[in-house]
């Protein structure tokens, strides 16, 4: 461990050329690592476990909705299923997924830095994440919560044990879990902004920052400015349920609509914490796989920042029918439309980047393109919900469920898996099987659309969300959706098998398998502990394909798409 007094963050003896996976072995070297790449891999593992657990709950829910009445479980268990699905997916997967795992692994390399600004804070934020997850598991063991991931009061805070009218499930451990998870997210945000400001290698001006780094910067701004309000909201929630302080419970003089203001002031920017890094990955993927500098680089970067800032002004569209005064609904509806502009600018710029590019449809690119298609549908249905008259009918129906799944799964999960495929050779040093990857993508894409496209119809026909049982006219659409969820589950199984197989028997990855000009491909894969053998000085931008030499872009590897020849010697060359 670092010497206590004199030299904070001093690293033990490390061979600069050995890869970060080989230079130290053993569990302890992982659990007490200060290397941002190892912390990122640990985050990745935990985040994928959370995604699997959340996905399992989703499959059980959809199976229950296959037929009317009781199919698998009773109402209480179903309510706990959808609440745990929501909490796990939002707080344990979507928010930490891209910034904390892929962001931790890639950001310092993309900046040419040795590590993030505060390595010990980075490790601390991982352990706070694990500590929060333990609270969540404790609550799950004790029956889980049945309040939905939104914990609306007074149902969540009015404890029947104290003579209340609300939920009798294990709410307090789960709210503490979310409270603790919030701090992990804040510390990651502080770390990333300090890293991007102060740790950039010489020659790396703001205009040479990769678009993924720009999106992490915008996300970090939201993490710092929004998460504390979540901490306060859940602190008040926990104290109100535990001690009965009357802030949100109307029985004690509080106001439940005020809770919704507090909750959504965090939770709407939180959906931008989830989607903006996904957009950052897609910008990088589109640039690499059309081998072209992104069209309107500054426009894409600035629209990430614009999304981050505008995201704070629109939370009211969750309260249109919640009893908010019409003056507020008018203002929030207008601002909600404004927030669609930066997303639109991004999509237009991505498409313009494809124009006259040299597009190669390798598996990461398939994920990026499906992000564009599905995020466009997700974004447009968001406009439906921003429109006041239409939202009155569609609020809290399956239309909303379909909308946010199109943005979360169609957006963030597609971006996350695109990034995972894209950087997998870099941080594991192994190539994966392209055919399996395309098969996995196909099942996920088809399964997702079958599951959620019909839910738009369910919603507009008036089927409310979070329903254990439904009227006969909705049955056929629910059955289509459940079958779709099986295809989706199969797709993720294929991907899991592919990645595990590639870890053990994947071909060793060359330095630059995709022929990309971005900085992370200049260092061998897997990279050494301090990312670059010698401190890098950058003379060109990450997307300057015209300036990048052929030697940098192509080093004789076997192109997975056209594997005529055998594998060229794939060992890394600096």
């Amino acid at each position: 461990m670092a010497a206590i007094t004199t030299a904070p963050g001093y690293h033990e003896e490390v061979d600069p050329n050995a890869s970060y996976l080989e230079n130290k072995k053993g569990l302890l070297s992982w659990l007490f690592t200060l290397d941002h790449k190892r912390i990122g891999v640990m985050y990745l593992l935990s985040v994928i476990i959370a995604f699997t657990l959340g996905g399992l709950f989703a499959l059980l829910m959809r199976a229950e909705l296959l037929t009317r009445g009781r199919t698998l479980m009773d109402a209480d268990t179903y309510n706990k299923m959808f609440s745990l699905h929501g909490v796990i997916m939002v707080f344990l997967f979507l928010i930490p997924a891209i910034p904390a795992s892929l962001g931790n692994i890639l950001l310092p390399i993309q900046l040419g830095a040795k590590d993030v600004a505060f390595p010990r804070l980075n490790l601390l934020s991982y352990y706070i994440y694990v500590f929060g997850a333990c609270f969540g598991i404790y609550s799950m063991i004790h029956g889980g919560v049945d309040t939905g991931w939104t914990f609306y009061t007074p149902y969540s805070t009015s404890d029947p044990a104290h003579g209340g009218v609300g939920s009798s499930s294990a709410v307090i451990p789960m709210t503490l879990a979310v409270l603790v998870l919030g701090f992990s997210s804040v510390l990651t945000g502080v770390n990333f902004i300090a890293t991007i400001h102060k740790m950039r290698a010489p020659g790396l001006s703001w205009r040479r920052l990769s678009l993924f780094a720009w999106s992490l910067y915008a996300t970090a701004i939201i993490q710092i400015l929004a998460t504390p309000v979540l901490a306060i909201t859940f602190l008040l929630l926990t104290l109100e349920r535990f001690l009965g302080i009357g802030i949100f419970d109307p029985r004690l003089g509080g106001d439940p609509v005020l809770y919704q203001h507090f909750f959504w002031f965090y939770s709407h920017p939180a959906v931008y914490i989830m989607i903006v890094p996904g957009m950052g990955i897609v910008s990088d993927l589109i640039a690499t796989f059309s081998r072209r500098e992104p069209f309107g680089y500054m426009a894409i970067a600035m629209s990430s920042i614009a999304l981050a800032l505008l995201g704070f002004l629109v939370w009211g569209h969750h309260l249109f029918v919640a009893g908010m005064s019409e003056y507020a609904t008018m203002v929030f509806s207008a601002l909600t439309f404004l927030v669609a502009i930066p997303s639109g600018v991004k999509v237009f710029n991505w498409i313009a980047t494809l124009y006259k590019g040299s597009i190669s449809l390798q598996s990461p690119m398939l994920w990026a393109l499906s992000f564009i298609f599905l995020f466009t549908i997700g974004g447009l249905t968001g406009l439906f919900l921003g429109m006041l008259a239409v939202d009155v009918h569609l609020h809290d129906t399956y239309f909303v469920v379909a909308h946010f799944h199109y943005v979360m799964v169609g957006g963030t999960v597609m971006g996350f898996f695109g990034g995972l495929h894209y950087w997998w050779p870099k941080f594991t040093g192994r190539l994966y099987d392209e055919k399996w990857a395309v098969a996995g993508w196909f099942f996920v894409f088809v399964g997702f659309n079958v599951t959620f496209l019909v839910q738009f119809l369910l919603g507009s026909r008036g089927m409310p969300r979070r329903y254990y049982d439904y009227l006969p006219q909705y049955e056929s659409l629910h059955q289509i959706s459940t079958v779709g969820s099986w295809i989706l589950g199969l797709g993720f199984l294929i991907l899991a098998a592919m990645f595990v197989r590639s870890l053990f028997s994947g071909k060793p990855a060359p330095r630059n398998p995709w022929g990309s000009a971005a900085y992370e491909w200049l260092t061998p894969s897997p990279p050494p502990t301090f990312n670059f053998a010698k401190d890098p000085v950058f003379e060109r931008g990450p997307y300057d394909y015209q300036v990048a030499t052929d030697e940098e872009l192509y080093d004789g590897f076997d192109d997975p798409l056209f594997p005529e020849k055998g594998v060229a010697e794939g060992e890394a060359r600096a």
């Binding site: 009357g246 109307p250 203001h261 704070f312 009211g316 009893g323 908010m324 005064s325 507020a328 203002v331």
Partner: protein, 133 residues
């Protein structure tokens, strides 16, 4: 010379040494006296009942004291502008949160007294499920 320096105001000879302005100790004591005086002022001001003005004056004096601490004790006055921008942005977003929330809470029931009112105007009956002492 190694292309290392990318900290603004980095002169070659002191090899990136840390430099922050240190005011004379008496200056800090003067700032403290100012703060103490403002505290006395705000306590005095609270004894007069000026209605709405009371709150504004209270916040005004508190902001003055905060600016003194931020500017001199926390070296913001002699430091890179960026740190001041961080503080201003944070306060701006607290302002956004407060303004939009009170835009709702203050205007409830303004268009139609039946909307989100705690008492039903027609019968005067308090809404069920509400606060009953």
């Amino acid at each position: 010379m190694s292309a290392v320096a990318h900290e603004k105001g980095e002169s070659g000879n002191t090899r990136g040494a840390v430099r922050a302005y240190a005011a004379p100790s008496l200056f800090y004591v003067a700032v403290f006296v100012g703060l103490a005086a403002l505290t006395a002022l705000t306590v005095l001001q609270s004894t007069f009942d000026l209605g709405k003005l009371n709150m504004l004056l209270g916040v005004g004096i508190a902001t003055l004291k905060a600016l003194l601490v931020l500017g001199f004790f926390m070296h913001l006055a002699w430091d890179n502008k960026f740190y001041a921008y961080i503080v201003v942005t944070a306060i701006f977003f607290v302002g956004v949160f407060y303004t939009y929330t009170t835009n709702d809470t203050e205007k409830r029931g303004l268009r139609d007294p039946d909307q989100s009112g705690k008492i039903l105007p027609a019968t005067g009956a308090p809404a069920p499920g509400g606060f009953s002492p």
